[in-house]
Amino acid sequence: MEVLFCISSLVAILSTVMVITRLNPVHALLYLVVSFMSVAMIFLSLGAPFMAVLEVIVYAGAIIVLFIFVTMMLNLGKETAEQERNWLKPRVWVGPSILAAVLLAEMIILLTKGQPGSMQVTVVDPKKVALSLYGEYIIALELVGFLMIAGIVGAAHIGKHRKRSFHRFLEDEAETEQQLKADYHDVHTG
């Protein structure tokens, strides 16, 4: 089991590094898929199969797909890569890396202060999870239902397009400007 754990964690860390350093958004998203898959493997090695499956389905299957949809809609391709090349000079990484390294060091110190505890890896099967979820945490579950509705309604409203009355070839600049102003106003008052 440890071997599985070690390899999975290495893969996860490496792919995460690749995610944050890619220029092309699609490349980054693909590496993100790999990262999530390896984290799912870590879950498996820890005895949480249900969570591993959920990770793959929801995270890698839904959320990253959403990202890819948006990338597709906004047509982020070559120009974005160029932009990112301009923005991501090596010296940009210095400051954040130092700060984050300090944070990491402190977290590791805190984590290693306590006694080293090894653990027996037993599988916590889905039945236990379900009993806990629908037993103790029933209220939180219902609240998460609310959260979902809020997310749906919010996303539907915010992302709404105003219907254009003219075909875009027939508009001139001033009209576009006006529409945008109206959109802007609607978004902020709606």
Partner: protein, 102 residues
């Protein structure tokens, strides 16, 4: 040998910090959202590790909630990204500084 719980937590910490570096460094809103997802995922990993240590399902339930929340947040956040792109024609976060104190 069994897995050290500290090791798992250290892995989670490394992933979290990597996501944080991504948030600080990237200017594109999309990449910042991606980095936030990485951070959320790392936090969830820490919860599942805790659940495995104590042999209880609570951590996994917590991870479920985190997952649901991440999904909702991503959908709303991406809708906002779409609107930002339509208004400002760019995804540079430095251009969104209208709340600056004059």
């Amino acid at each position: 040998m069994s897995i050290q719980v500290n090791a798992v937590l250290i892995v989670a910490a490394i992933l979290f910090v990597l996501g944080f570096i991504g948030v600080l460094t990237r200017k594109n809103i999309l990449f910042m959202l991606i980095s936030v997802e990485i951070m959320l995922n790392a936090a969830g990993l820490a919860f599942v590790a805790a659940s495995a240590k104590w042999q209880q399902a609570d951590g996994q339930v917590m991870f479920l909630f985190i997952l649901a929340m991440a999904a909702a947040e991503v959908s709303v956040g991406l809708a906002l990204v779409l609107q930002v792109y339509h208004q400002y024609k760019t995804l540079d976060i430095e251009k969104l500084n209208a709340l600056k104190d004059e």
